[in-house]
């Protein structure tokens, strides 16, 4: 009962942060870990969270565009993996995708309902009624929380038996195929990030990273250092950022020192 309460609470938090995008309670890494904790299967939750996080790396709301919803995907999937149903992490990842779409549809629904709330806010603003404006704002936030909490409650009510029966009814070729697809579907997230940032100026850095990735001794921290050093060097040398100053010899000498220092530490 206590674990059920916390599952619903964490789902509610994930739902609210799905729109706020502040604390990151909706990110798989956090949401799946918390739900795993509530169910007493922390490690499974963490592993699922890490797996789903890779998938969701590039899911971001930019402007008015709504990304696939990480909140519903990670909470329901984490409940099925760490809860009584004890679904495998692979299956959890496969069902996360349709859930991300369902969550996306739900948030679009709530974002439409809030248009009506915004009109009520206009009326209250005319009366100078600041308190009701605040109350309506919180109501909208609660709706976004319920958007995730209610589906989770439904899945809990259905119970492990029917969920497992339904999942077992899926033919083997589909589940195994989904696992195969899960291996490369992360590319979509990377492509979304790249699509947002890529310029002719930045592509060389992508290919440099690609070529270096074959050196398996370089872990991500080392790669981060290299990336940071490249960025610093680029900013120091690019004529775009020190146009005008152009005293080549002098600046080259001073540029050498900090880079040397970083390389020595490394």
């Amino acid at each position: 009962m206590i674990s059920a309460f916390f599952v619903v609470l964490f789902a509610f938090l994930a739902g609210m942060d799905g729109i706020l995008d502040q604390f990151q309670f909706h990110q798989p890494l956090v949401a799946a870990t918390l739900i795993g904790l509530a169910n007493g299967h922390l490690t499974e939750g963490i592993i699922l969270g890490g797996t789903l996080q890779m998938l969701a790396l590039g899911w971001m709301n930019i402007g008015a565009a709504v990304a696939p919803d990480a909140a519903l995907a990670s909470t329901v999937s984490a409940y099925l993996v760490t809860g009584p149903a004890q679904v495998s992490v692979d299956t959890g990842m496969a069902i996360a995708i349709p859930l991300a779409v369902a969550g996306q549809v739900l948030t679009i629904g709530v974002r439409t309902i809030t248009v009506a709330l915004a009109h009520i806010v206009d009326k209250q603003a005319e009366k100078g009624n600041l308190r009701s404006i605040e109350a309506i704002h919180w109501t909208a936030l609660a709706l976004q929380g319920l958007r995730i909490a209610i589906p989770v409650i439904v899945v809990m009510a259905v119970g492990a038996g029917p969920v497992n029966t339904a999942l077992n009814a899926i033919p083997d070729v589909i589940t195994k195929g989904l696992a195969v697809a899960g291996g490369f579907i992360v590319v979509v997230g990377y492509a979304m990030v790249i699509n947002m940032m890529a310029t002719a100026e930045l592509w060389p850095f992508f290919f440099l990273g690609f070529a270096l990735s074959a050196v398996s001794e370089l872990n991500l921290i080392a790669m981060g250092m290299i990336g940071l050093v490249l960025a610093l060097i680029y900013l120091q040398l690019s004529p775009r950022f020190n146009g005008g100053s152009g005293n080549g010899g002098g600046s080259n000498g001073s540029n050498g020192d900090p880079i040397d220092a970083i390389l020595d530490n490394y």
Binding site: I19, L20, F23, Q24, L29, G49, G50, M54, L57, M60, G63, A64, P68, V101, Q104, R111, T114, V115, A118, D122, A125, L130, I133, E134, I136, H137, A140, L141, Q144, V173, K176, G177, V180, A181, G183, F184, I185, V186, V187, V188, Y190, A191, V193, M196, T199, L202, W203, F205, F206, G209, F210, L212, S213, L220, M223, G224, G227, L230, L232, F241
Partner: protein, 315 residues
């Protein structure tokens, strides 16, 4: 009431802290009509309460702040700071009209979103997320903890200091941000982001093509004599020297089987490690540029995965 009795009203530190906390909920009422407008007004309420006492003044202030607003949720903070400074001057009699306030808001939200999206969504979350997810996949609780703590620390400090910057600089901030510093940070962050993406595409994408390209019988004497060893073990007359001989053969990198099997995957790896993920990434990128939605692509790839598995092309 005579002129000299009129007291100037000023915002207090508590009002600024209150706005900082409220700006966390900027997007709570996000709607398709005016997007972040309610959250924007909600964040300014502490200042409005301090500066205006009459219902009419408060109503007018709310009305001007309920116009369309949308930007990256974190970079709204410097704009909030500027608008608080403008409201403060206006409440004390400065001739600032609604149009000026709205102009500053709209003028800042576009360029700042262009900075916030690549830095926070494009670089910081993927890089920090990838690093933490790698730890989490090994079952380490430090993965999610590092992700959560580092992210929120940076976010909260960013929201506070940029709001303070906006409040102190007022409208001067537009020139500050227009200068090289902001562009430098964006470019630097994007370089790091693109570099890490280059690392992650081949490293964390799993594509395995087990299709057999060739199956060649290994030359006599080039394969470790494992069958003979197995026979001896089953017969119960295995000798130490026989085991040592097989171990030496394996150490000399002799083949473990009588046939050398080359799969499509081996061929691809010989050509360039990570080639298949790279090509797939460019196909997806091309589709995204053709305005195909991400979710359509994801479902398409699922179908590809199922078909490829069913026909034994991938495993």
């Amino acid at each position: 009431m005579s002129e000299n009795e009129k007291v100037e009203v000023h915002l207090r530190k508590s009002d600024l802290v209150n706005t900082w906390w409220r700006s966390t909920f900027l997007q709570a009422s996000w709607n398709y009509e005016r997007m972040q407008n309610v959250g924007w007004a909600f964040s300014l309420i502490p200042g409005i309460r301090r500066l205006y006492k009459s219902k009419e003044d408060r109503a007018a202030a709310m009305k001007r702040h309920l116009e369309f607003f949308n930007t990256h949720p974190y970079v709204a903070s410097p704009i909030l700071g500027v608008e608080l400074a403008m409201e403060e001057q206006r409440a004390n009699g400065a001739p600032i009209n609604d149009e000026a306030m709205n102009g500053v808001k709209v003028g800042m939200m576009g360029p700042l979103a262009g900075v916030g999206d690549p830095i926070f969504w494009g670089t910081m979350r993927p890089v920090l997320g990838a690093f933490a997810a790698g730890m989490a996949q090994g079952g380490s609780v430090m993965g999610p903890i590092i992700f959560f703590v580092v992210w929120n620390l940076i976010r909260m400090l960013f929201l506070w200091y940029t709001q303070q910057l906006g409040y102190k600089e007022g409208t001067n901030i537009t020139q500050d941000l227009g200068g090289g510093a902001m562009q430098k940070i964006t470019t630097g962050a994007s370089i790091l982001g693109m570099f890490i993406m280059g690392v992650l595409v081949p490293r964390w994408t799993t594509m395995n093509f087990p299709v057999v390209m060739s199956k060649v019988k290994v030359q006599d004497g080039a394969a470790a004599d494992i069958p003979a060893l197995a026979k001896s073990i089953n017969g119960g007359d295995v000798s130490a020297s026989q085991i040592a001989k097989v171990v030496t053969q394996i150490q000399d990198e002799q083949s473990l089987t009588a046939y050398k099997v080359t799969t499509l995957q081996d061929t691809l790896d010989d050509l360039l490690p990570g080639l298949a993920p790279l090509l797939l990434m460019f196909i997806v990128l091309w589709l995204l540029r053709k305005r195909v939605s991400a979710i359509t692509i994801i479902f398409g790839l699922f179908i590809v995965g199922i078909l490829a598995y069913a026909f034994g092309i991938m495993a």
